[in-house]
Symmetry: C2
Subunit: 245 residues, 2 copies
DNA sequence: ACACCCCACATTGTCAACAATCCACGACAA
DNA sequence: TTGTCGTGGATTGTTGACAATGTGGGGTGT
């Protein structure tokens, strides 16, 4: 009892569970539901960054009352996805290009640590699962249709497993609860142009190899280089004006 | 307008402002007030970790109603200081010894990055301020009375300035909003025994020297070593059974 | 004596009305 | 025309009552 599983229940909506046929897993409380709805709406860009939104409008949109909604707004503000000013409303946070790059710098360090600890602590079964997952990712990429979307999903699935595999609760919480949503929010904008799927998959494979060999240092190095490459890719996209800020 | 200052207003209660004569700065809203009260209560150990506490009890204690209180609880849960289970109540998070050490591992990386970026981005004025602050810290330490308490305050002041000086919003948010409160919560238990004040002050001085010389790499290295030493100190205290878990 | 089940109670989640605050619009003066 | 001030309206913050759910204690059967 009193486990921390619930803390992670609402930060893993992108994992393909056995039964996701229902419109999202029935959150145990309405505030959780509101939290999930708002978070996904923000991440998917349905709520544009910088846009001011009223509480009643959100209530009508997601069919809830203001009580649970306010609780969800509080959580999202605390998590940095919203900016709130007393008596003035709430607006979606708008991250500048520089701040987005800084996000990748933080990820570089934290995911490097996660990879190192995952190499030391993941079970053999988890590693086998991870390798199998990469196989299915490859199959998805090789299918032409929906390539970009599934590549994204696979990418997040991979990083998610590494984070949880680190057995470092706070690290996983920060990565899965804060950073990934931020990054994801801005990746949705260039989902088609981002693609370097095969290259990324290769890097994933080499990281998993290092983990399978329990070589923490190598896993950390490869992961840091992987994120670093992603960061440079983003910087290039910004320089080319592919992203609007 | 719409700045992020409010986001940081409630995570800097330990900074000695000009006018703190009033019982804490009048938060703009009751939910913020509840958030501050609960956070400081948790950090100071007035609410014991693992203890289950009822909402009504908290309402009576801090003289609020359940609405704002629930919003504050939501924020604290999202920040990892509370564990909440639907219809079952809320209890203060209890961090194991291992998790506390992991916290220091994360700090090591993030504060290292903060120090490097601070060396690149702090203004000359901020650096001069920081040096002056260290002088006053030294004066405090040399006074026998209240040594441990003021050393703690000075330590947090130092790290706070480095974090904000990095000009990395997310990094500062994570350090000031998440990690420091966790660490602080567990340091309150061994406030008298932790002391390695002069050694720590020396390390602070050398870090600031590196920052003043705009040597980011050196600042990062020294900061990582500083946190690493603190971590080893904590590990020793845990091994000696000075901390109760 | 021990384990299991059921129910009343206490506690939490939710709702709708009330009060406090900000902001945009318009009037007025320079 | 432009800048400032004041007010109406809309929006947010807060409150107390109502509904839903988990928990602990008493009872019963083995």
């Amino acid at each position: 009892m009193w486990g921390v599983m619930r803390s992670f229940a609402h930060i893993t909506p992108w994992i393909v569970n056995k039964d996701m046929s229902q419109a999202s897993v029935q959150s145990q409380t309405r505030a959780d539901e509101a939290f999930d709805c708002l978070q996904t709406a923000i991440v998917k860009g349905e709520l544009a960054p910088g846009e001011r939104i009223g509480e009643v409008e959100l209530c009508a949109r997601f069919d809830l009352t203001r009580g649970p909604l306010r609780e969800a707004l509080g959580r999202l503000e605390s998590r940095g996805l919203l900016v709130r000013r007393p008596h003035a409303g709430v607006k979606v946070v708008s991250v500048s290009a520089d701040e987005l790059v800084e996000l990748y710098r933080i990820r570089e360090l934290m995911e490097g640590l996660a990879a190192r600890q995952a190499a030391e602590r993941m079970t053999d079964e988890e590693i086998a699962d991870l390798q199998a997952t990469l196989d299915s990712h490859e199959a998805m990429i090789n299918q032409a249709h929906g390539q970009a979307y599934y590549q994204e999903e696979g990418d997040y699935d991979f990083h998610h497993r590494i984070a949880t595999g680190s057995r470092n609760a706070k690290l996983a919480q920060m990565l899965l609860g804060d950073l990934y949503y931020m990054v994801r929010m801005y990746r949705y904008r260039l989902s088609t142009s981002v693609g370097r799927p095969h290259k990324a998959l290769n890097e994933h494979r080499r990281i998993v190899e290092a983990i399978a060999q329990r070589d923490g240092e190598l896993a950390e190095f490869l992961m840091k280089r992987h994120i670093s490459a992603a960061r440079r890719n983003v910087e290039k996209n910004i320089a080319d004006g592919l992203m609007s800020f």
